[in-house]
Symmetry: C2
Subunit: 350 residues, 2 copies
């Protein structure tokens, strides 16, 4: 079993595809269990005196709380509106709601500082979620019913990453320009999802902004590219280039390293064997995805390939696999089959 | 059996929904068989000394010839390109090819003056045609295999209308602003077709421009709203208004008049009886269509309802109905059923 998906390399991290940038040497020590206090400040991400991660000076716990309050509110208010078609105008809509500490007639009291929560293109993202079979209740339950888990291998981008406790969704902070770019891409993204439902490109399920302490913290909700439910024995981040495309010594030392093109050629000189139908479907999908990325003038992306070796899989793997749903990540089934209403994989930003 | 579809009223004419404008008094005598030489010049449409219709001084026969040469070329060259997804950029593409009288290595010789033929958004319109099951061969065969037939009841808009000899497609000249507006609407139109396949709004299958004699003649290819294959015993053009909404005496004198809202209320005080499922599907579709028109800021439209009375239908009706395919016009089947891959009806411009 293999998972595959193009991952713009600026977004490395939570899926284990760390170290794909030239700037990898400045990367945060990535393996799970690294003490938070060892983290340096990278970009907007920092650490406060108690050792808690901060983003633009807001603590991770306050950010997680605001995200859950905000998403609960926006999904709830959306479900009260009648279903209707997405219009061009919907891509530029921004809904905004203020959450004072003491509560209001629209929002509950909470233990964080006042904040404002903005939802970008709510109707459009509802459509995207529906297209992949994510019902409002599922989305709310996954993201807001239990605590979000902060990922410690956050990569070099200075972003903070969270995963929902059920492993379905990744939440990632994005910079102003990234959020703006994603907004601009939405009409083209809509077109792609409608034509190319098996796309391996990132699935974006929501774009939000938490305004706190005079700062804008923009976050995107994506599918989880490599959920824990299936252990990947090998992972490759591939760019189709052989120039400096070998995993660093530091990456190789990790428990579950992500290798690169040159490693792939060396480790798997015969490549991966696939059924002709699967091979054709996969290459066709990758071609279509690349055409879209080209049209967006995005060139900094890679294909993340995860390989689950059934022969090597122990009893524990099987158990995890049976127990966990992982509805929305991309397994081979979604590459090869007809669009299933649930789908494909990934993680990343532009 | 009934056909229904919103028709922006500026585009009245070939479908029999004439006389819906306040300017109806200045309308060309509309019934079939009216002598061409009786026509006055309206807008860009005129008559030359031989009695032939002209548009921007180009004779109808030269225009028809140029359209057929142009479409044959553009559909042919498109079919040589690999299938691929429609991208945002495709909506603004304009392809252009020069047709000198004497022919070139790309174009055949012809008996008209030199002209240039432009195809707007070829990839996007190919997608629209495919969405409604119109294969390139069908499109070419319908439009280019036999002569186009000029419609004499061309309405007050100054447009020239043609119907394909198999009654499937309407071709209509549009003004610069209309063509520009349609181009701008294409992304939203794409979104609508993908979400609301049963839409009763006009189906646009192609947008072209013939440059001849220093003039631009823009044409749009649409589905034929009311093909001859099914005789409509009653036709109503309805705006949902009762203000001045009665067919004129002149309209009533026609062989097959198009009545209006007040006539409908008077003739059919109980309305039309429909199965609950059909009624719900139809009203839902009309609501969705109206939302789209509203988002486009289009308010000048009407719903054209054609009623084929099975009890009144003679043997000849039945024969025509069996003989003619009329694949692409909108009958009740497309209103009520699941999207059939072939579809809905209409005719009109914005």
């Amino acid at each position: 079993m293999a998972s595959a998906g193009p991952v713009p390399s600026g977004s490395v991290g939570p899926t284990g595809s760390g170290g794909t940038r030239k700037a990898a040497s400045s990367e945060v020590p990535g393996s799970s269990g690294t003490s938070q206090t060892m983290k340096k400040t990278i970009g907007h991400r920092g650490v406060d005196p108690t050792g808690e991660t901060t983003y633009k000076k807001t603590t991770s716990s306050a950010l997680k709380g605001a995200i859950q309050l905000g998403i609960t509110h926006t999904v709830g208010s959306l479900s009260q509106k009648a279903e209707r078609d997405v219009l061009m105008q919907d891509f530029v809509v921004v809904e905004s709601i203020f959450f004072p500490s003491e509560g209001s007639n629209l929002t509950p009291a909470h233990r964080y500082s006042d904040f404002r929560f903005k939802t970008y293109a709510p109707i459009a993202f509802r459509y995207f979620r529906e297209l992949y079979g994510i019902r409002p209740d599922d989305y709310l339950y996954s993201l807001c019913n239990e605590s979000l888990i902060e990922l410690s291998n956050s990569g070099a981008s200075g972003s903070v990453f969270y995963v929902s406790s059920d492993d379905e969704f990744i939440i990632k902070t994005v910079q102003h320009k990234e959020a703006e770019f994603l907004q601009k891409l939405l009409p083209g993204y809509f077109m792609n999802l409608n034509q190319n439902k098996r796309t391996l490109l990132p699935k974006f399920y929501g774009l939000y902004c938490v305004q706190a302490g005079g700062k804008n913290i923009r976050i995107v909700v994506m599918n989880n590219l490599l959920p824990r439910s299936v252990h990947m024995h090998l992972k490759y981040d591939m760019k189709g280039s052989t120039y400096k495309r070998r995993a660093s010594a530091k990456e190789r030392d990790k428990a579950s390293p992500t290798y690169k093109d040159l490693d792939f050629i060396q480790d798997l000189p015969d490549g991966l064997l696939m059924e002709p139908d699967n091979y054709n479907a996969l290459t066709k999908t990758i071609q279509r995805d690349c055409l879209l990325l080209q049209s967006f003038k995005i060139m900094d992306y890679s294909l993340l390939v995860g390989i689950h070796n059934v022969d090597q899989a122990g009893e524990s793997d099987q158990c995890i696999r049976r127990g966990q749903k992982a509805l929305f990540s991309t397994a081979m089934e979604s590459i090869q089959g007809e669009a299933r209403g649930k789908g494909p994989l990934d993680s990343a930003d532009q």
